[in-house]
């Protein structure tokens, strides 16, 4: 046997021993897993791989405004999906058509998400509904937009606590308010209305329908008056209104007269007044025992005054 043969035998021997050692250790690990790890190792293993559920919830809560991250998390594993899915489906937005859309979808198409959510059984997860409408386009969110099927799906939202409506035709919803908003009356805590189309009395009537309403936000850049209608008092208890009131350019003092009369007073703890202070005296008087925080902006001067001041 020459040197080269000896070298070949050594190489084969080394590779064989390596292979045998690999098989031995892999086998040992498998046997250990079957029989159970040593206690110390097992605790470390669980601690690193299984964070407590509530800690995972806290970590994921940091991403509640980042929908893409939430969607990625939901694909990771079953436990993450369970934590993430209520955040993903927290808000339902019934959108306006895109600007410059060549073929604006028909009215019914905007309510299509309702049937989809209903089919997937996701309706109980929705906590907030937003309705987007543009002032310069035909408004679509009105009673006639709901087919019987849409109305049935819309009524399936049993956990809604926030409602945000742009340009809502309150006056059109008032006659059948129980049919369209009756299922929100007990759960709704916060409402935001952008440029509501109604009379001051219709607005207060609408707001007083939601028994557990605490927060109200009204943003008005344009004042719309509607045809007055006969208003029948609701049999449901009036709201307590103990949270936050935010008014942006809102001037209808009559709304508060009616609301104070129907609710037996206001109990807001935080008031936010912007652009207009017409309602301030009546609100401060009504909330004389409860007001804790006032927000206001220093009113801006008119353009002519401002430019004169800048150039002076």
């Amino acid at each position: 046997m020459n040197d080269s043969d000896l070298c070949a035998v050594r190489t084969i021997g080394t590779s064989l021993s390596t292979r045998v050692a690999t098989i031995w250790y892999r086998g040992k690990v498998k046997v250990d897993r079957l029989l159970g790890d040593p206690p110390g190792t097992r605790i470390t293993h669980e601690q690193t791989l299984h964070l407590p559920y509530e800690i995972m919830e806290m970590i994921i809560a940091h991403f509640i405004h980042d929908l893409d991250t939430l969607k990625a998390c939901s694909l990771t594993c079953c436990s993450w999906y369970i934590i993430v899915v209520p955040h993903i489906h927290h808000t339902l937005t019934l959108k306006r058509e895109r600007r410059g859309h060549p073929n604006p979808p028909p009215t019914r198409a905007r309510l299509k998400p309702l049937s989809k959510l209903h089919q997937l059984g996701l309706a109980p997860l929705i906590k907030e509904i937003r309705v987007e409408q543009r002032r310069d386009m035909i408004r679509w969110f009105m009673p006639k937009a709901f087919s019987r099927c849409d109305l049935r799906h819309f009524s399936a939202f049993a956990n809604i606590h926030t409602l945000r409506l742009q340009e809502p035709d309150i006056n059109l919803f008032i006659p059948g308010i129980k049919r369209h908003f009756g299922h929100f009356s007990l759960t709704l805590r916060s409402i935001t209305l952008y440029n509501p189309h109604c009379t001051p009395q219709q607005l207060s009537h609408f707001l007083s329908f939601f028994s557990n309403l605490d927060d109200i936000e009204l943003r008005c850049t344009v004042t719309f008056y509607a045809t007055p209608t006969k208003l029948v008092p609701f049999s449901t208890p009036a709201p307590k209104l103990r949270g936050r009131l935010a008014l942006y350019g809102f001037r209808w003092v009559e709304t508060w007269w009616h609301l104070i009369a129907s609710c037996g007073g206001l109990r807001f703890r935080h008031i936010d007044l912007r652009e207009d202070a017409s309602c301030a005296p009546i609100l401060f008087e009504a909330c004389a025992d409860t007001l804790e925080t006032l927000r206001f902006n220093v009113p801006a001067a008119s353009d002519s005054e401002y430019s004169s001041w800048v150039h002076s």
Binding site: T221, R274, L291, T293, F296, N297, V298, P299, W309
Partner: protein, 115 residues
């Protein structure tokens, strides 16, 4: 002249609004600055208004910045408040004023209000 008219108008409005508060639990007054330019015309009368308000009902003063460039606005406002403190205009406050950043409005939901 225009400056004094502007200040008089602001002073009158703020005083009128605030004078109607009678709540015993009132504790915080938040001045919202949507455009940073609104800081510029601040003058003696504004701080005098705050002093009078504080005598009627003591409060904690907060400035809420609703601006795009928060850090720059915060820096300038801090300098302005430091200057006011040096002049003794904020001595009446029990604690120094604080500056907060406003939460952003959901995308597509901002409705600008006319000046």
């Amino acid at each position: 002249m225009y400056e004094s008219r502007l200040e008089d108008r602001r002073y009158a409005m703020v005083m009128e609004v605030f004078s109607t508060i009678t709540s015993p639990v009132f504790s915080e007054l938040v001045v919202v600055l949507a455009l940073f330019e609104t800081c510029l015309p601040w003058a003696l009368l504004f701080f005098e208004a705050l002093r009078t308000m504080n005598e009627v009902r003591p409060f904690k003063l907060v400035f809420l910045l609703e601006v795009l460039d928060f850090w720059e606005a915060q820096r300038e406002l801090t300098e302005a408040l430091d200057s006011a403190t040096e002049k003794g205009l904020l001595e009446f406050l029990g604690s120094p004023p604080t500056i907060r950043r406003a939460q952003s409005v959901p995308r597509g939901w901002h409705i600008s209000t006319p000046r």
